[in-house]
């Protein structure tokens, strides 16, 4: 199931412009690639957190050589034969060559400070991090892997919303990923969601906000409806801090904002503490048969379900030429 792929962060930034340097989107200072890389792509002038590509994120977090990509061969089909001014397939091809990824999410197992996790990272550079069938399916498989291996699930989201070119199937990924989160919950697998800039629409309104602990990166835009849509509705310009992580936290929607340089340590700490509770419950001090608890009854049940589902015949996409699975 897993497939070793080495992490390569050298050749592409999130918008393909890493060669030489970039100017900080906030303070406009020029930052060299070296400065950026050494400081985890945080501006050392103003502290602005620049966008990080999925592969860079994996490199920042995973212990050297521990990344195993999951479901690396999943790619988009064109179930609606969608046409607008361009072909969906052309858009996919372009996104692939710009990002070096074949979808808007990469998933894998990794160790972070020696802790085994399932890690899923969205790539905003891939069609705006939009969630289509492949994002949903990869998320599901990542959740499955977390349950099967009993690893916690750590998800970094960055998304403009739904993949319009997959129409209603794109919308339904919200339901699908929610069901995956419910399975995680029944198995008592810790799930931590890190909201990065920007996380909006259907991703914010499904798995990203259903985690046990919701972390945000400083300054990230987090909203369901985009600022432009809201401005059209209220016919006013929005305040600068609209929908930012800090505002979201004040409004009770985010547990904790963690600057990028502390992220790795703090995430391991949080995951460890959630695991810590479960670990203790695995060997209870009491004897009496209590209701299903922890990784006893509920876990076994959730696992059975997942397995039953995994054995179910997958729905075929149109025109496939041989059985997958």
């Amino acid at each position: 199931m897993a497939n070793k792929v080495s992490v390569d962060i050298s050749h592409r930034g999130p918008n393909g412009s890493i060669k030489g340097g970039e100017s900080c989107p906030s303070c406009k200072e020029l930052l060299t690639s070296e400065e950026l890389e050494s400081n985890l792509r945080v501006c050392h002038h103003c502290g602005h957190h620049l966008r990080v590509s999925a592969r860079q994120r994996v490199a920042q977090l995973a212990d050297e050589g521990t990344w195993n990509e999951l479901a690396p061969h999943l790619r988009s089909a064109d179930p609606l034969e969608f046409f607008d001014v361009r072909l969906y397939g052309d858009r996919i091809d372009e996104a692939e060559s710009e990002t070096g990824l074949n979808e808007a999410i990469v998933t894998g197992t990794a160790r972070i400070h020696k802790m085994d996790v399932v890690l899923a990272v969205m790539e905003f550079g891939f069609m705006g991090g939009s969630m289509g069938s492949v994002v949903g399916e990869k998320f599901w498989r990542a959740a499955e892997a977390a349950i099967e291996n009993r690893y916690p699930l750590l998800v970094f989201s960055a998304s403009g919303g739904a993949r319009m070119q997959e129409g209603i199937l794109s919308l339904l990924q919200m339901a699908k990923t929610t069901c995956a989160v419910e399975l995680l919950g029944e198995a008592r697998i810790p799930f931590v969601s890190v909201l990065t800039h920007p996380t909006t629409g259907g991703v914010l309104a499904s798995f990203a906000t259903l985690a046990d602990v919701i972390v945000a990166e400083p300054g990230s835009l987090l909203c369901f409806s985009g600022p432009r849509v809201i401005e059209q509705t209220i016919k006013e310009k929005l305040p600068e801090d609209f929908g930012r992580a800090e505002s979201n936290m004040a409004h009770g929607q985010v547990d904790i904002i963690i600057p990028r340089n502390e992220l790795k340590d703090r995430l391991v700490q949080i995951l460890g503490m959630l695991e810590g509770g479960v670990a203790c419950a695995l060997e209870p001090l009491w004897e009496e048969k209590a209701r299903p608890a922890g990784r006893g009854g509920a876990f076994a049940e959730a696992l059975d379900r997942v397995k039953a589902i995994a054995n179910a015949p997958w729905r075929a996409f149109k025109g496939r030429d041989r059985e997958d699975q």
């Binding site: 692939e96 997959e166 919308l171 919200m174 339901a175 259907g202 914010l204 309104a205 039953a308």
Partner: protein, 300 residues
């Protein structure tokens, strides 16, 4: 065969063949799709409370999320139904200007979704099946709604429906608009009235984004595959319910009768299995949602 980054012969062939197909298809927008959009939004189309009036004479509306407010864009309550009880929850639009304003044009705020969740949990506690009626342009896009967690409210609504032990039936009765509609439609059985639509985005907004021209809405409506026939083909809905001649707006009682029969059939079927099995089947269904390919398979 390498995966990334990918330009392969097979893909190229597929791409060219797609381009050729594209020339032949869709340059004229499918008028039928746009007609459905207009019917789904017809100002005289029956709304949730119209169906409730015709289907459940003893309906008792229960209000409020017990947190912040009652949202009139979603209504819900208990109804007696063939000697038993059902929880009915649905989006509610207004018909004249004051009631449209009061109902916020059927666009719920977080408190609407949280009311729905509260009522669903109440139903679950007392083993009362849940019927949802879906009819909204989408969740309300406003600053205060965002601040109160519009995204989270929709997500927890989905989660609530995923968790339910009781049978759940959702019917798209008008506009099934995006996440704001789906939030009430993660159900064991999802049905659409013939002239309803269900879409990830409004055709207008889609056209504005992809064509950069909202007058291409008719084209977008065709591309999005949002009619009941499209959705049945995509296996996103389980059943399409025919409407009375000329559309539901011509015969409220007739439309309600059709809906009620479909509900009865669905519940009869759903109640032959255990709650656990029902939930399992619900998960299997949503797990199958989506179309993807794995490397080595050709594009079609």
């Amino acid at each position: 065969m390498p995966t990334l980054p990918g330009v392969h012969l097979k893909d190229e062939i597929a791409k060219i063949s797609n381009r050729l197909m594209e020339l032949g298809r869709g340059r004229q927008p499918d008028k039928a799709s746009w007609e459905k959009v207009e019917l789904a939004r017809h100002p005289k189309r029956p709304y949730t409370l119209d169906y409730i009036e015709h289907m459940f004479p003893g309906f008792i509306e229960l209000k409020g999320d017990r947190l912040f407010a009652d949202d009139p864009a979603i209504v819900g309550g208990l109804a007696a139904y063939q000697g038993r009880t059902i929880m009915v929850i649905g989006h509610q639009k207004g018909r004249d200007l004051p009631s449209r304003t009061y109902r916020n044009f059927g666009m719920p705020k977080p408190e609407g979704y949280r009311k729905a969740q509260r009522l669903m949990r109440l139903a679950d506690k007392f083993h009362i099946p849940v019927l949802t009626l879906v009819d909204t342009p989408g969740a309300f896009p406003g600053v205060a709604a965002e601040e109160r967690g519009q995204g989270s409210a929709i997500a927890t609504s989905l989660m609530c429906m995923a968790k339910l032990q009781v049978p759940t039936v959702a019917v798209i009765i008008g506009e099934g608009g995006s996440g704001g509609a789906l939030a009430l439609a993660l159900a064991d059985r999802v049905m659409m009235l013939e002239n309803s639509i269900y879409s990830v985005i409004t055709p207008e907004a889609c056209a504005a984004i992809l064509w950069r021209d909202s007058s291409e809405a008719q084209q977008a409506a065709t591309s999005l595959k949002l009619t009941s026939a499209d959705l049945e083909e995509l296996e996103v809905v389980d059943e399409v319910l025919p409407e009375p001649r000329g559309g539901a707006h011509k015969d409220y009682a007739g439309a309600a009768r059709i809906l009620k029969e479909a509900l009865e059939d669905s519940l009869r079927e759903l109640e032959t299995v255990s709650p656990l099995q029902r939930k399992k089947e619900r998960f299997e269904k949503y797990r199958r949602m989506g179309v993807w390919r794995e490397e080595g398979l050709t594009l079609f």
